[in-house]
């Protein structure tokens, strides 16, 4: 049995933006179709990794880009500006490039958007750049008519250099899976602000640049850190499915070991949304060789953003491409987010 191969339909609907199998099919069948190669040892769009890598001399130029459409644009724990910087810095880091040289930032703004709102968002962008040790060096501005776009859309692109790239396809049987903290915080914080049940929660998004934390993991684990991915849209489930599929291994996740905030668990129950398919914006999934697992875990935990890190899974030879969840009661396949359950969370 293989996972469903699906074909992109006549109309691109919301489900193609969920970060799951439908989106991967869209990239494969439309966007990546017929593009040239990136050159010896490079990583291009067809690899569908977190970013691209181009060989330049003895290092790699890593490029990542990310557009942000979150609604509401200011949410508990962050805003679209902090998200735009963190998203791209994190994508670079997931390729092993933890020193972002610079970012570009393009904004598409709806006619009538408030100046003060915009200034607040840009102050947040500046603060997050400072925190991440990078800056914005060029940009672009477009305004669209009222109703032609909803408020504000931001795109950022980042570049960084690295000697060693880390792919999302480097797992082999026996490797351990580390998550750097609690799962599902961002997605459920956003959904809780939106749902019609009038939930009163203290949920906060985890949005943050995590490249420094990844840098530590790489410093301690070295070549033993074999795969990196940020569990954004589609959450831990989509990240693991991609890693399993590209690496040709099965992954068993020990559900009780997955760090979850109690409130995330409770709100997830109420909304019927599994925190494991819910987005994170300040976390990494790290695949490591078993011999460095403990050392990398310690290093991650020593970082303020990694205090709740845990080893949550292991790669096995059975069922390559699948993720099996050991629930503590029994086992089942971990499902990927499907359909249009969670539009516009990042």
């Amino acid at each position: 049995m293989t996972r469903n191969v699906r074909f992109v339909e006549d109309r691109i609907t919301l489900k193609y933006g969920t970060g799951g199998a439908a989106m991967r099919a869209l990239i494969e069948q439309v966007f990546a179709e017929g593009l040239g190669e990136v050159g010896e040892g490079g990583v291009g769009l067809s690899a569908m990794d977190d970013g691209a890598a181009i060989r330049v001399g003895d290092q790699y130029l890593v490029i990542a880009t990310d557009s942000h459409v979150v609604q509401p644009i200011e949410f508990p724990g962050g805003d679209i500006g902090r998200l735009a910087v963190s998203g791209t810095v994190n994508d670079l880091a997931m390729m092993g490039a933890t020193e972002p040289l610079a970012l570009t930032c393009a904004a598409i703004i709806e006619d009538g958007f408030g100046r003060e709102d915009l200034k607040r968002i840009w102050a947040s962008i500046r603060r997050t750049c400072e925190e991440a040790g990078t800056t914005i060096v060029t940009g672009d501005t477009k305004i669209m008519g009222h109703g032609e776009i909803d408020g504000l859309v931001i795109n950022t692109t980042g570049v960084a250099l690295t000697k060693r790239i880390v792919r999302d396809s480097g797992l082999r049987v026996g490797d351990q899976i580390i998550v750097t903290g609690t799962m599902g915080d961002h997605g459920l914080a956003i959904m809780a602000t939106r749902n019609e049940l009038a939930l009163e929660t203290t949920l906060e998004s985890d949005v943050a640049p995590v490249h420094k934390l990844v840098e530590r993991a790489l410093a301690v684990g070295g070549e033993g850190v074999v795969a990196l991915k940020d569990p954004t849209r589609g959450g831990l489930s989509s990240a693991l499915h991609e890693m399993a599929e590209k690496s040709g291994v099965g992954i068993i996740v020990d559900e009780p070991s997955v760090p979850l905030r109690q409130e995330v668990r409770a709100v997830g129950e109420l909304l019927g949304i599994d925190p494991l398919v819910s987005a994170n914006e300040g976390k990494a999934v790290i695949g490591v060789r078993p011999e460095v697992a403990a050392a990398v875990l310690d290093a991650v935990r020593a970082h303020p953003l990694g205090r709740n890190a845990a080893i949550v899974g292991e790669c096995v030879k059975e069922r390559p491409g699948f993720v099996v969840l050991d629930t503590g009661f029994g086992s089942r396949l971990l499902a990927e987010a499907e359909g249009e359950l969670l539009p516009r969370i990042c």
């Binding site: 049995m1 469903n4 699906r6 049987v173 026996g174 049940l197 009038a198 939930l199 929660t201 099965g250 068993i252 020990d254 009780p256 109690q262 409130e263 668990r265 409770a266 709100v267 129950e269 109420l270 899974g313 292991e314 790669c315 096995v316 030879k317 059975e318 069922r319 099996v324 969840l325 050991d326 629930t327 503590g328 009661f329 029994g330 086992s331 089942r332 396949l333 499902a335 499907e338």
Partner: protein, 382 residues
């Protein structure tokens, strides 16, 4: 809504207690004088719990837990869907639960009619359908599905003077009679039933006494947390082994013997039981709930002349004829026995009703894996 309430329910998810119950279950199944032991549950929520918590992989190998006709959307019969589709195509505004939109009729579903421009609305409750009627000057038909639990909600609305332009096209169904049908099927190997806790809060556990007498098959009422399901199964196999069939209540924190008398009164004041087909299963005497004459003015079937004959001209899609939903709901086949499952038939492109509903066996198995067997997969095996 209060997140703390959801949190308090998590105490029924203690893996340590679950393992103890599972060991007991294993022992009881071994003690049975035959193998396998086959039991049936009749509730989509039970299948959801079993799948979500991966219980199927933890059940003893010689215990077969079969999902019966417990998904109300799945057993809504083709002519019932045709009635709703025909009304919508006549220009009447039809409101229903989201899953009902995609249930195939003879040639079309409500979703197909909607795509062609018919006025079809998704609602999450009957109350929302009434709101629709209040904000529209036109007729609003609520295409009502669900077992006795949801039927009570519909009944409560009808006794509360809903607007004049509101009516109900009832596809409500009543569970106890279909258990009789399944128990009498010649192919059936069922030795006992796990009954749905939420339905039993209304009907009470005593409603099953006569069934046990007639068929000599035990019934155990169980809730929906993993510990509830396991405790229910332990009790059921215990009763099977005892050779003395009876009704047991393994969900006493919610269910009493007599049930919710007020809700029962309401249910039977508004609805009368009548015979009718359940999709894929059989004609079920007293299995359908229709409005009593007293409520005729809210009965869509009395209010409109529904002519669905135009829908019968087109032949049904070929794949539908290969669909095994009926056998699956009768417990004779598993989703993995159906060669459409996961191939032509997926949640994106459902062929049968069991792949449509969140409570359908096929949809649940597709999402969570069901069997193929995950028992053997362990960490550290490398």
């Amino acid at each position: 809504m209060d997140p703390n309430e959801a949190l308090s329910q998590l105490k029924f998810r203690d893996p340590v207690r679950a393992r103890a119950l599972r060991d007991t279950l294993e022992r009881l199944v071994e003690q049975a004088d035959h193998a396998p032991v086959s039991i049936m549950h009749v509730c989509g929520s039970h299948e959801q719990a079993i799948a979500k918590f991966g219980l199927r992989a933890a059940f003893p190998e010689e215990l077969q837990v079969i999902m019966g006709p417990g998904c109300p959307v799945c057993v809504t019969d083709v002519p019932e869907v045709d009635e709703a589709v025909a009304l919508a195509k006549q220009g009447v505004r039809v409101a229903s639960y989201g899953d009902m939109l995609r249930v195939p009729g003879t040639s079309q579903s409500l979703a197909d009619a909607k795509a062609e421009g018919a006025k079809v609305d998704v609602v999450y409750s009957v109350t929302q359908a009434v709101e629709l009627a209040k904000t529209h000057d036109e007729e609003v038909v609520f295409f009502a599905s669900g077992f006795e639990t949801t039927a009570v909600a519909t009944a409560a609305i009808l006794v509360d003077d809903p607007p004049d332009n509101f009516s109900v096209l009832s596809a409500h169904k009543y569970i106890p009679p279909v258990m009789e049908i399944v128990a009498e099927m010649p192919e059936t190997k069922i030795e006992g039933f796990l009954a749905a806790g939420h339905a039993a809060t209304i009907t009470g556990s005593a409603v099953f006494e006569k069934f046990v007498e007639r068929h000599g098959l035990p019934v155990v009422i169980a809730g929906f947390e993993p510990l509830d399901v396991l405790a229910g199964l332990v009790k059921l196999v215990e009763v099977i082994n005892s050779g003395k069939p009876r009704v047991e209540n393994a969900f006493p924190r919610c269910v009493s013997a007599e049930g919710n008398l007020q809700a029962q009164k309401l249910l039977w004041r508004v609805f009368r039981p009548t015979g009718g087909r359940w999709r894929g299963i059989a004609h079920v005497p007293n299995g359908n709930l229709r409005l009593r004459d007293e409520f005729a003015r809210y009965d869509t079937r009395k209010r409109f002349t529904i002519d669905a004959s135009s829908l019968w001209d087109q032949a049904p899609p070929k794949l539908v004829q290969q669909c095994q939903c009926g056998d699956i709901m009768a417990g004779i086949a598993s989703p993995s026995d159906c060669h459409l499952f996961g191939k032509e038939c997926t949640p994106d492109t459902p062929v049968g009703a069991c792949m449509v509903s969140a409570e359908g066996t096929c949809k649940i198995w597709h999402q969570y894996g069901g069997r193929p067997d995950l028992r053997s997969m362990k960490r550290g095996a490398a």
